[in-house]
């Protein structure tokens, strides 16, 4: 049958780059947080050196994620309504609560790490890990529960988001540590062996992500006509470059080769490069999923173009990029400041809280200081 659309109202994109980077940032945050708990919860003492870096990064990234979300809502001053009128069926509503809980408990966790209180750090870590992972699974649900969006509506979505969160979080931590080692060599050294073993972890998660991608795509290819068309958007449509080349090749295959090759895998440069590529690939994945999902129209023919002119994004592309750069810049500055001033802030907080904290920190007298 030949159909032609004579007239229809075009419905454009809802969410652009800002919301694309929301799961990107929360993913990085959840990943680096999980890594920081390795030393305390899973008793992998060799990872202790990176715990502080990782937890600060997790907090800063979470703040960045919240900023993207706030910037994207059109009435940000009404955000308090999420606490006044919670909706148990809404994954966005859950997100506000889980993110708040996550922020709170990661702050407490960071405080215990910096005061060297291993026991409480472990308890907080155990409480926090499910919350951190929950944040991300919830983000997956925010997209995966929309039954009108063919590309999003799959049970794999939360798992996919969770795994890519861990992948990108680990990768970003490697990048940060490598940069720190290269450019600030006079600071405390991180044992290269640790970075390499984190690299091995990265390989594991990369392979897992690959597997999930393949499962998702294969199922879609064999599904109803709409799903087939949706997945063809990735394989041969306008997103094929971003999907095949950036997400799969640059963000997956090349890092895997670099990491698993005995020569390149055991150098700082190789590790850093591979990890940076993984971070780029993960951003491409978020873009492909979130923007790609919206490019499948619900009632029109053809594809929705990726343009900010029609639709409800509310910003132009330039504005979005500028906002995003501002948020990333904030993140970098905040991270550097946090690295520098957190010990001071922690002692200040200690002073305010008074006895209790001092007591506990004298019980375990700075076991952390290597």
């Amino acid at each position: 049958m030949v159909f032609q659309e004579v007239y229809n109202v075009q419905h454009g994109l809802i969410w652009g780059l800002l919301i694309t980077s929301f799961p990107f940032f929360t993913g990085l945050s959840a990943g680096s947080f999980t890594l920081s708990t390795l030393a305390y919860v899973f008793d992998k003492k060799e990872y202790k050196v990176i715990s502080k870096n990782a937890v600060l990064m997790a907090i800063v990234l979470l703040l960045m994620a919240n900023m993207t979300l706030l910037a994207d809502t059109t009435q940000p001053t009404r955000i308090y309504n999420t606490f006044l009128y919670p909706n148990i069926a809404s994954m966005f509503s859950w997100a506000t609560f889980i993110i708040s809980a996550y922020l709170l408990c990661s702050l407490i966790y960071a405080y215990y790490i910096f005061t060297g209180n291993d026991k409480f750090a472990k308890i907080m870590g155990i409480i926090c890990i499910p919350v951190a992972l929950g944040v991300h699974a919830d983000t997956g649900f925010v997209f995966g529960l929309n039954k009108g969006m063919v590309l999003w509506h799959t049970a794999l979505m939360p798992v996919l988001f969770l795994v890519s969160a861990l992948t990108s979080g680990i990768a970003l931590l490697i990048v940060v540590v490598v940069i720190k080692e290269k450019f600030f060599p006079d600071e405390k050294k991180v044992d290269p062996e640790i970075i390499y073993s984190i690299g091995n972890l990265l390989i594991f998660f990369l392979v897992l992500e690959f597997f999930l991608d393949i499962v998702d795509i294969t199922t879609m290819l064999y599904s109803a006509a709409e799903e087939y068309e949706a997945i063809m958007l990735w394989l041969s449509g306008p997103l094929s470059f971003s999907f095949i080349w950036i997400q799969i090749v640059i963000g997956g295959i090349i890092p895997l080769l670099i990491l698993s090759h005995p020569k390149t895998g055991r150098t700082y440069f190789g590790q850093g490069l591979a990890a940076a590529l993984v971070v780029i690939g993960t951003f491409a994945m978020r873009f492909n999923v979130i923007v790609g999902g919206q490019m499948i129209p619900k009632s029109e023919a053809g594809l929705v173009p990726y343009t900010h002119e029609i639709g409800y994004i509310g910003y132009t592309l330039i504005e979005e990029i500028m906002l995003l750069s501002g948020i990333i810049l904030f993140g970098i500055v905040a991270y550097i400041l946090a690295l520098k001033y957190t010990p001071k802030i922690v002692t200040l907080v200690d002073g305010i809280i008074g006895k209790n904290a001092n007591d506990s920190s004298t019980e375990v007298p700075f076991e952390l200081e290597e």
Binding site: M1, V2, F3, Q4, E5, V6, Y7, N8, V9, H11, I14, W15, D72, T73, T74, Q75, P76, R78, I79, N81, T82, L84, Y85, P86, N87, A89, S90, M91, F92, S93, A95, T96, V142, F143, L145, N146, K147, G148, M149, A225, E226, E229, Q294, I296, P297, K298, S299, E300, A301, G302, I310, Y312, G314
Partner: protein
């Protein structure tokens, strides 16, 4: 519609969407619409009437007419499909709203509380029918105090401000062939009930289980959802 009725509309339609009586509607009613496509000529009068009635800004539509051409010469025909919010009985948009700004009244009308909506767009993503949009405003939405709303989600309200006062929705009134029929589904003698029971009806994307309350008569199901366009 007489002047008296208009006055009553303006009196009763409170400034606050959150007013309790407004949030509930009449419990024993269930509003529905039947669109008889055998009568529809595709004149777009309903789109215009809706725009005027509800101050819908440029580039957005609460109600519009989709036109699809099917076939090749000489066997070709244009199909019209007037579209609006389906006022689903199990609305995904209400489930998605994090602040319960989208809500369902007991009479079956799904509405947006403009005072509460924070513009997260979750409902737009959730609606499988493209019924929602972001309204940049400013719009007063028949608020007697002329409060100006802006930047919230918006959608077809079945003209709840008119229906609550006994008037018909603007699109129904404007339809020159009376293709659009509006009424109470719970009342067995209403015109909608009769049409629904007498004729085979179609729903858009019925498989999604949203239970739409806009019924079509004589619609081509292949053009109701996403159109798989093929260029000639």
């Amino acid at each position: 519609m007489g002047k008296k009725k208009l006055d009553r509309i303006n009196e009763n339609w409170g400034p606050k969407y959150s007013r309790p009586e407004f949030r509930h509607g009449e419990p024993d009613k269930k509003y529905a619409m039947v669109i008889d496509l055998r009568k529809c000529v595709g004149c777009h009068a309903c789109s215009i009437a809706c725009k005027q009635e509800n101050e819908v800004p440029l580039k957005h539509y609460r109600s519009w007419v989709k036109k699809i051409e099917k076939g090749t010469y000489p066997n070709v025909k244009t199909f019209n499909l007037p579209r609006l919010c389906n006022q689903c009985d199990r609305p995904p948009c209400v489930l998605a709203c994090p602040v319960r700004a989208s809500f369902k009244r007991e009479d079956g009308i799904t509405l947006v509380d403009f005072n509460r909506c924070m513009g997260c767009k979750a409902c737009i993503a959730a609606c499988p029918y493209n019924a929602r949009f972001m309204n940049e405003g400013p719009y007063t939405n028949h608020d007697p105090e002329h409060t100006e709303y802006k930047d919230t989600a918006d959608k077809c309200s079945f003209c709840a401000h008119r229906v609550d006062n006994g008037a018909l929705p603007a699109c129904v009134l404007s339809c020159m062939t009376k293709a659009r029929v509006f009424g109470d589904m719970n009342d067995p003698n209403s015109e909608v009930s009769k049409l629904i029971h007498l004729y085979p009806t179609q729903l858009i994307k019925a498989g999604l289980g949203t239970e739409p309350k806009v019924f079509y008569i004589d619609a081509d199901t292949s053009i109701m959802g996403r159109v798989q366009e093929e260029k000639r």
